[in-house]
Amino acid sequence: MSDRTVDSTATPIVKMEKLNKNFGSLHVLKDVDLSVTPGEVVVIIGASGSGKSTLIRCINGLEEFQSGSLEVDGRRLEPDGRASKALQQIRTEVGMVFQQFNLFPHLTVRDNVTLAPRKVRNASTAEARRTADRLLDRVGIANQAEKYPSQLSGGQQQRVALARALAMEPRLMLFDEPTSALDPEMIGEVLDAMRELAREGMTMVIVTHEMTFAREVADRVIYIHQGEIVEEGAPEQVFDDPQHERTQSFLSRVLTH
């Protein structure tokens, strides 16, 4: 995006090399290399089952990998889920927004947002509350703080989920199809909040099927097919001039409807 700059010489916040992941006998990620620079917005596209979710879930250790190397925010993650100390530290620095929101239904909107800062960062109740209210205001749901998630629309819930992740002041945000579970009329409000975040310089890795949004917000687009990165580059390049046949046929399928 024009008003953001990415310093590609800076130390990458995600450094993934030759990462392999199996679910039993299913080889889901094959020698994946991925490097994300601070401030960069990377969008991952690909067909259903190609491994997009698995890939970003490896970054915060929700999935274990079997071989390769992975460093996040300067901390090494070991294969097979070893070294859980680094893992928890990484998770405090990496926020995630899920397709199904995964808000805590037994807590109010505000408590959803303050829980982790209080328990993990040891923020005082007052301090956590101030941060929560500021973030809720920012995503446009300040007046719903006392409600429970089930009392909100899908779009509102997803914006709460965003505020909840941001409350930990993450250095990297992961999004796994954040708008796929939303009614069409609510997609825009969530994308707007994400655009705003990108504009402020947040480093983001986004899995999405929203191609227009991807083109607009991404610094780099990655196309993944059957667990392999087939093509990557600037959005204009990948969308307008894809080099690989696989990418071409995928794009022609998703862009025609």
């Binding site: 915060n60 250790g61 929700l62 928890q88 530290q89 998770r91 405090t92 620095e93 990496v94 926020g95 995630m96 899920f98 199904q100 995964n102 808000l103 805590f104 239904p105 037994h106 807590l107 109010t108 829980l115 982790a116 328990k119 993990v120 429970y148 998630p149 089930s150 989920a161 909840r164 992740a165 930990m168």
Partner: protein, 223 residues
């Protein structure tokens, strides 16, 4: 017509003060046993969920053994059998509490397991992805939600265990049924007395049902 119907209301009412003396024992054994059973259930229910075999298998064995044998046999074993091992008698009330504890504990383990397992995977992932430890995720996210879902089953188990204590008349605990038996032995009014005994059980279990209904309704907020 010479009717066999011979229900003596006076005898029924007269038995009540005597039967009421059994209620503290019934309540003490049921709720004492259930309280311990709940602690057992939490521990073994979570062990049952563990990925580590050395935690899971003892829990499975415990659950199968105490679910698969009658509570009457369990209390007889504790009251008559254990003293042989321990070398001294066991108080009947203590034996009753212990029997309810181990028996309800086995069922509550399964209730706890089911409640915890019923929470969607995404809840745990959301907690972990925020940087909460596994223990914190369990304590603040999984358990509060799981516990709400356990309430109906826990209530059910409570009612079953309360009724189970009626079997403990055999070891001479002065609970409701035992009081009834003693009273009948001197008055020969089995019909009236057992009816009153039944009604007193019903009063206890209905009260419990009512309390649980209230608790459930309160817990509905936010679900």
């Amino acid at each position: 017509m010479d009717s066999n119907f011979d229900f003596n209301w006076e005898a029924a009412f007269q038995s009540i003060p005597y039967l009421l003396k059994g209620i503290p024992f019934t309540l003490m054994i049921s709720f004492g046993g259930l309280a311990i059973g709940f602690v057992i259930g939490m521990i073994f229910g979570l062990m049952r969920l563990s990925r580590a075999g050395w935690l899971r298998w003892p829990a499975i064995a415990y659950i199968e053994i105490f679910r698969g044998t009658p509570v009457l046999v369990q209390v007889l074993f504790i009251f008559y059998g254990l003293p042989q091992l321990l070398g001294g008698p066991i108080n009947a009330v203590v034996a009753g509490i212990a029997a309810i504890a181990v028996n309800s504990g086995a069922y509550i383990s399964e209730i706890v397991r089911g409640g915890v397992q019923s929470i969607e995977r995404g809840q745990r992932e959301a907690g972990l992805s925020l940087g909460l430890s596994r223990t914190q995720t369990f304590r603040y996210i999984i358990w509060p939600q799981g516990f709400r879902r356990m309430i109906p089953s826990l209530g059910n188990q409570g009612i079953i265990s309360i009724k189970d204590t009626s079997l403990f008349a055999v070891i001479g605990v002065g609970e409701l049924v035992r009081q009834g038996q003693i009273y009948i032995a001197t008055t020969f009014r089995a019909l009236e007395v057992y009816l009153m005994v039944a009604l007193l059980y019903l009063a206890i279990t209905l009260t419990l049902s009512l309390l649980l209904r209230l608790l459930e309704r309160k817990g509905l907020v936010g679900q």
